[in-house]
Each structure stands twice: as C-alpha cells, then as structure tokens.
Amino acid sequence: MKRTMELLPQISFSILLALSLQPRHGYEIMQQVLEDSGGRIKLGPGALYGSIKQLRIAGLIEQVDGDAVFDRRRYYQLTDSGWKRLDQELQYFRVSLEISQNRKLSNLGEA
C-alpha cells in the first residue's frame, strides 16, 4: 500500500527551495523566496522564523555552525531528509504539471 504524503505549507516549501542553492541566513532566505516567487511571497521575520522552527523540528533543515561572535545571523541548510522531502514535493508538482498539460489546462487563465 502506498503511503500518503501531506504537502508542505507554501512558506515551508519556498524556504526549502531557497535553501537548495546554498546555506543562507534569514534575510537572504526572505530575498530568495521573494525572487523565486516573482515578488508574490513577501516573507517577514514572523512567518520566516515560525516556519524555520517547524522545519527544524521536522528535521528538514539545520543550523550551520558559524562564527557567532562576529555575526549575529545564523545560517541554515537542508538536511538529507530536507533534500528528500524537497524532491518529493517537486515530484508532486511535476506530475501535477504533466496532468494539467495533458488536460490542456495550461492556458486556462486565457479562456
């Protein structure tokens, strides 16, 4: 029997995607999410760190050891589970995109 997968919330997925390039600190994550979403997702510190906490608890991201004396910012990176989860999420979106193309839904907004 196939196990069901619960999709990540949009913000959490965007954070994972932002961290897929390199380890980043909070402000960089916010900027990357803004860029990745074409300016549609404007994260503030509240939403960002609330989600970061959840992702850390789930073991999907981890803090990177840095020089905390000189830099008050902490860097985060994806864990192995984080990479796996991101891959699963992207696979879901790939399948969804394929289905939408097969059903000729790609130009739905123009109809």
């Binding site: 909070g26 503030g44 510190p45 509240g46 939403a47 906490k53 008050r72 902490r74």
Partner: protein, 168 residues
Amino acid sequence: MFAFVYRLALRAYPRSFRAEYEQEMLVAFDELLVGATGPGGRFWLCLRSLTEVVQWAPRERLEVLNATISATPGVLVWGSASSLSLLAPFVLAACYRLHMLADREPNPQWSALLVHAEPYYERLLPAVALVIIFFSTILFLRNATMKNGYRYFLGLGLIGSLAIVALV
C-alpha cells in the same frame, strides 16, 4: 522607532521561542528596514511585520501550552474548575438581569424560582470561588517551578474567582 515597536511586539511570543529566535528576527527586521525606501515603505514594512506577529505568536503560545499540559487528573480538575469559574460571572449576570426583570414585571413563576435560587447563587458561588482561590494560591506557593500550562489554568481560575467575588 520602528525597530523599538517591533522589539516590543516580539514580547507576544513565548519565552522559549524568543530565546531561540528573537535576536535573529530583530537582525532580519533591521535589514528589511534598511532595504525599505522612505518613511512610507518603512511604515508598511512595520505594519506587515506586526500583522505577522499577531498571526504567528498565538500559534507559538498554543504550542507551548500543548507541550506543557498533560491530561493528568489534577489538570483536568483544575481546568474544569477554572472554566466553570470563568462562566459563573456570566450566569450570575443573567440571573441578576432576570431578577431585575422579574421585579419590574412581576411574574409569580419567575419570582418563586428566583426566591428559591437566590440563596444558592449568592452563597454557594462565592464559597466555590473562595475555595478555588485558596487552593490555587497554595498550588502556586508550593510549586515554584510550575509548568506554563498549569499557570494558565490557575491564572484563569483566579481571575474568574475574583470576578465572582467582586460581582457578588
């Protein structure tokens, strides 16, 4: 000034969350402020960030509450007592209102009911409230390292009980 307001707003988060993320959040907010253009931009940034605090801080509070409360008999008893004591002032107010109505438009049935009920809600409820206050205070004094969940319940119980005493 915006940073000061934001720092104050972060007090809405539970202590454990602030210990872990407050500094980072302030740094990130400062960096966003630097990037915002003009006083209008800073104002909207501040407003948006405060809205996020309103949205996310209660979640964190609830999580802390859920993590610290276990369904032991003591918690269940005190939780129920606290909830009932919070409801009691409203019940009293409703009774009082009915009493006033009954006085204005005498209705033999209502009057008879209230005459019978009056001694109970006037004596029993303050007595219950005083018992709750007594035991809550003892619990507070006995257990200085009480978990947050208990504190919430006991705090609510105390407020409710004091409200009853003040009303009656």
